[in-house]
């Protein structure tokens, strides 16, 4: 295979490439936060009025620990009762699986073609 000679990249082009990567990185990580799509928030489904340790489902040992940590039943109310919602749709799960499989398929496919070129140039046919 003929030896591939890469073009020389100018400083402005190098800088532009770095900016593109940084913008994509910050965007992918912060956009879900900005759009409030980050998920994983806990909610209190059934609040307890005038909470006591018993009403919050805490036995004597558990209540004693909370008190040692500086909590009262009122201040510990949300901490104790908040729960995650693990319900999900099968459609969303299938989309996630599809996205992951597509991603690995894409990079393995492109990598293979690039790799053959590398091996060919390094070792010859």
């Amino acid at each position: 295979m003929a030896h591939y000679i890469p073009p020389k990249q100018g400083k402005a082009s190098q800088l532009f490439d770095v900016v593109v990567l940084v913008v994509l990185t910050v965007g992918s990580l912060f956009v879900p936060l900005w759009l409030n799509l980050a998920g994983a928030a806990k909610t209190v489904a059934s609040p307890v009025e005038n909470p006591t340790w018993e009403a919050l489902g805490q036995n004597a040992a558990q209540a004693a620990k909370y008190e040692a940590l500086g909590f009262t039943p009122e201040t510990a109310h949300d901490l104790i009762l908040a729960r995650f919602d693990y319900s999900f749709s099968v459609g969303a799960l299938l989309v996630m699986i599809l996205v992951i499989v597509l991603y690995y398929f894409l990079i393995l496919r492109f990598s293979e073609s690039e790799y053959r070129e590398v091996i060919s140039e390094k070792f010859g046919k």
Partner: protein, 478 residues
């Protein structure tokens, strides 16, 4: 048997990169251990407890052990491959030689983001710790944590800039102190020395599996945090004196240390702190070992675990800067990223431009995102990297069977660890989907876009044959 032998003193697998100044080979197995455990040990001091919130204390223990299996597979696979690929960049360089450039580019980004996010999480925890210490010592107003976050990141970046030996020797000392603090807390609170304060049965009563078995699956997400980063030992490959011996030894000793530390940590914290408090790392227990010490009634333990937490966060952030900068540097050197990043400091022999460049990136996330989100970003990048490893080892064994390249270490029972790792990765993807599906899809969308950018634009600047720097024979099937 081929003459290609990484265990050789004269031919250790290093290939020419065309640089006039190389990284300095000064590290031993203890430094490799310190790099791996130093990055990860903070996972026992904070973050793992989100897994308790996801499924309860028992779920967190199951997640701890299954994640332990995942990381044992990672350590075994990594030890074999890296004992033959002694070059900076770790898994990035492995992927470049075994799977191909685009995979390598992706793996390099996984490494950089996993470590940079972990560094940001460490800085957030250090800032929190300073605010707790301030309130314990009489400061009444709310302490602004941001200056401390900035100070931690910039100080450690400066240390990394100045030289790898000092950096990792610093890590060795503070990691050892942080590990001793965990052992001391265990001996003091479990009843081994004096009276114990553990109340597992009473604290678990009525809350054994609060979400049922789906909570156990969900807990796997943060179960990774007990060990995330141990694979970073491979980043030191180009700076250890004897890579074939030091890297497997340091990595495997590291995972054994962490399995012990993780189980002890779960035992102590779940036996002292109620699960709802323990499991909420934002409004409840940010630093669970420190909180356990606070409830022990011993001022000496509070100070010891306070310093342990601080040292663990510093050691981890320090190791993360080291690893992320090596991966970024290696990609720059290969022109996967602008070649400007591939420079080595003429005096300190460190990848100084990469170190400096990643400082503001870490600061953006440390100052701009909540702890659980930062941890999730780190875990997601790590998880994508772990999914690559089974593919990597299967192809490595296929392209270079055992009789073609002498390994410094051959992992046993192949391909069982590879398929086990792949299966647990699948479970963990589902766990992440349960709480953070949007981030998962957003992050993979990002990797798809940058992959297309690399393949159709960036790769034109890469010298084809020169990427393959190992003195290996031609792979089978090509």
């Amino acid at each position: 048997m081929t003459d290609i032998d990484i265990t050789s003193q004269t031919m250790d697998g290093m290939g020419p990169h065309g640089t006039k100044v190389g990284l300095l080979r000064v590290l031993g197995p203890a430094h490799v251990w310190a790099l791996g455990v130093g990055i990860v040990l903070v996972g026992e001091y904070m973050g793992w407890n989100f897994s308790v919130g996801k499924g309860g204390a028992f779920a967190a223990l199951i997640a701890c052990w299954f994640a332990g299996i995942l990381y044992s597979c990672v350590a075994m696979i990594d030890s074999e491959v890296t004992s033959t690929v002694a070059s900076a960049g770790g898994q990035y360089t492995q992927a470049k030689h075994i799977i191909g450039p685009l995979m390598a580019f992706n793996v390099g980004l996984y490494l950089v983001f996993a470590y940079t996010m972990l560094e940001a999480a460490n800085a957030i925890t250090a800032g929190y710790l300073f605010s707790v210490v301030a309130s314990m010592t009489g400061h009444e107003a709310e302490l602004d944590q941001r200056p401390f976050i900035i100070l931690v990141i910039t100080f450690l970046a400066w240390l990394n800039y100045r030289g790898v030996l000092a950096t990792l020797t610093f890590n060795l000392v503070i990691t050892a102190i942080a590990f001793i603090a965990i052992i001391t807390l265990f001996l003091s609170t479990s009843g081994v020395l004096g009276g114990g304060i553990m109340e597992h049965a009473a604290l678990f009563e009525g809350h054994e599996l609060p979400y049922g078995w789906i909570g156990v699956l969900a807990a796997m997400h943060f179960g990774l945090w007990y060990y995330l980063g141990i694979e970073g030992t491979t980043q030191a490959a180009e700076e250890v004196r004897s890579p074939a011996r030091s890297l497997p030894f340091g990595t495997l000793a590291g995972i054994m240390t962490l399995l012990i530390a993780a189980t002890l940590t779960w035992f102590m914290c779940s036996g002292v702190l109620p699960w709802e408090y323990l499991g909420d790392g934002v409004s409840g227990s940010v630093a669970p070992l420190f909180d356990t010490a606070r409830l022990s009634g011993s001022t000496a333990l509070v100070w010891l675990l306070g310093f342990g937490t601080l040292f663990a966060t510093l050691a981890s952030a320090n190791g993360c800067i080291n690893d992320a900068s090596r991966a970024w540097f290696a990609m720059g050197r290969d022109k996967y990223l602008p070649g400007w990043f591939g420079a080595v400091h003429p005096k300190y022999r460190t990848p100084y431009r990469s170190i400096v460049f990643l400082v503001p990136i870490a600061l953006i996330f440390a100052l701009g995102a909540p702890l659980d989100q930062v941890i999730t970003f780190s875990i997601l990048s790590g998880l994508l990297g772990y999914t690559f490893m089974p593919l990597n080892i299967i192809l490595f064994r296929r392209k270079w069977p055992l009789d073609t390249i002498k390994r410094g270490y051959e992992h046993p029972f192949h391909p069982i660890p590879a398929f086990t790792l792949l299966g647990i990765c699948g479970v963990t993807f589902f766990a992440v989907f349960l709480g953070y599906g949007t981030q998962l899809v957003a992050m993979i969308g990002f990797y798809i876009i940058v992959s297309l950018w690399f393949h159709f634009w960036r790769y034109r600047f890469v010298n084809r044959g020169a990427q393959f720097t190992m003195p290996w024979p031609k792979p089978k099937g090509y």
